[in-house]
């Protein structure tokens, strides 16, 4: 496949899914997002996130260390916003408190780690997941493993430049942006009469 035609879509894509960047997918600029590798206005990506989460069978949030631990006031506020978002779409929350492989002792029912994220996804039959507060390099690793070995749809709410290895990504996600996403979700709920 030509790299310009590559799309970041649900797997399983194969044991070693390529890094989307190596297939020609580029990161969004401020105010933009990515849907399946295509750059779109941020608002459009938010609508797609709402649609995916509201129509999922078992949506699950995977908050990482940057929001799970109370580093500072910003982290504490962001954690609250993430929780509100998960509650709004009726999602489960399974934490990634650190990046230890802990193999083979991971308890996939209650935790996820970036080295074997597929174990948690398979065990809980998760069809749509949201990464938030996970350091970039570990998010990229986990997102590729998920694309390679599962049929889970991945969404990354990234505090930095976005994640081209997720199926949908927003960039520069702070508490205010999470609140905007919550509004988009609440509107979508009314529109489609979900939950």
């Amino acid at each position: 496949m030509l790299s310009s035609e590559y799309r970041v879509v649900v797997g399983p894509e194969g044991y070693l899914a390529p890094a989307a960047a190596s297939m020609g997918i580029v990161l969004p600029e401020p105010g933009e997002g990515l849907i399946e590798g295509v750059i779109v206005p941020e608002r459009e990506a938010m609508h797609k996130i709402a649609e995916k989460l509201l129509t999922a069978k078992n949506p699950t949030f995977f908050p990482g260390p940057l929001v799970l631990w109370a580093w500072n006031d910003k982290a504490i506020a962001k954690a609250q916003a993430v929780k509100a978002l998960a509650e709004a779409v009726g999602a489960h929350i399974i934490p990634m408190p650190d990046y230890r492989p802990k193999y083979p002792m991971i308890n996939p029912q209650i935790e996820i780690n970036p080295n074997h994220p597929n174990l948690t996804i398979w065990h809980n039959d998760i069809d749509v997941c949201v990464f938030v507060g996970v350091h970039c390099h570990y998010a990229n690793l986990a997102l590729k493993i998920i694309r390679g070995g599962t049929d889970c749809y991945t969404i990354a709410l990234c505090g930095e430049f976005g994640h081209e290895d997720a199926m949908i990504t927003l960039r520069d996600v702070n508490t205010a942006k999470l609140c905007t996403l919550l509004e988009v979700i609440e509107e979508a709920k009314i529109e489609v009469g979900v939950r």
Binding site: L68, W69, I76, I93, I94, P95, I110
Partner: protein
């Protein structure tokens, strides 16, 4: 509201796995605990995949429980048997390409000093004798010559255990191992003497049967590295699997191989420790 790297965000207290809640409530973070407190707190390493009776496992357990500030410590490991334990360790740890540990620790300790000028961050290399004395020897020595401010702890099992028993520089003369059947032709490396000559401010060697002594040494080495410069500890941690003795005899072997602890403290370090241990 309480904040910090070992405080759970209030929004997620209910979904944090029990292990983490216990680490926060009953772990050693910020409590200045030591070996004497073992049994009263949740340890940072509890389960591991090393062989039964492995000297490394005991050595690492004692070393980790002796760190003066585990919440502000980064362990740098490298390839070898210890590397299959470290992924379970509930504190910051970095795996380096075999032998690179002192180079990684150098960059890390320098960067942390710039990034956190008001918060001491301790960098502690913990690696096998092959990693420190052979393959990473050049990096080890160069870091000591530069007087880099981190501690190096050698887990000395006198051979390459993880790859099935080849001789290392630390294997004693005459010893034959699975994959070195003709026996070692030259003596054990004098790493303690080399560390002193290279300028380490604190150098020690001990076996883990002297647990309290080992605990004190780890604490001293970390404090001296924090303020003055390179420090080195050599811990005798025999390997029952490759040296073919019963796993119940590990401590007996360790005592026999290194009965007398060694401790060298530079005048400057002596002064510092006198203040710290008042």
């Amino acid at each position: 509201m309480k904040k910090g790297i070992t405080t759970i965000s209030p929004a997620f207290e209910d979904i944090m796995p029990e292990e983490y809640r216990q680490l926060v409530a009953e772990g050693p973070f910020g409590k200045d605990l030591g070996l004497g407190d073992l049994g009263t707190f949740k340890e940072l390493i509890e389960e591991h995949p090393l062989c039964a009776g492995c000297g490394l496992a005991l050595g690492i357990r004692l070393i980790i429980a002796s760190l003066p500030a585990p919440e502000n410590t980064i362990v740098v490991g490298t390839t070898g048997c210890s590397a299959i334990l470290f992924p379970q360790l509930a504190m910051h740890n970095i795996h380096s390409l075999f032998g690179n540990q002192s180079a990684i620790a150098t960059g890390l300790s320098r960067a942390l000093r710039l990034r956190y000028p008001d918060q001491p961050k301790d960098v502690v290399v913990i690696a096998g004798d092959g990693g420190i004395g052979d393959i990473g020897f050049s990096f080890t020595m160069q870091a000591w010559f530069r007087n880099e401010k981190f501690t190096t702890i050698m887990l000395d099992n006198e051979g390459y255990s993880n790859t099935g028993g080849q001789e290392s520089g630390m294997t004693r003369q005459g010893i034959a191992l699975n994959m070195a059947p003709t026996g070692k032709k030259y003596p054990k490396l004098p790493m303690v003497e080399l560390a002193k000559t290279a300028g380490c401010a604190y150098v020690a060697a001990v076996n883990p049967s002297l647990a309290r002594r080992l605990g004190k040494m780890v604490r001293r080495a970390v404090l001296v590295a924090r303020e003055i410069g390179s420090t080195y500890i050599q811990v005798m941690v025999p390997c029952p699997t490759n040296y073919k003795f019963s796993p119940s005899e590990t401590l007996k072997q360790a005592k026999a191989l290194n009965p007398q602890p060694i401790e060298y403290i530079s005048a400057e370090a002596e002064q510092l420790l006198k203040e710290a241990e008042k």
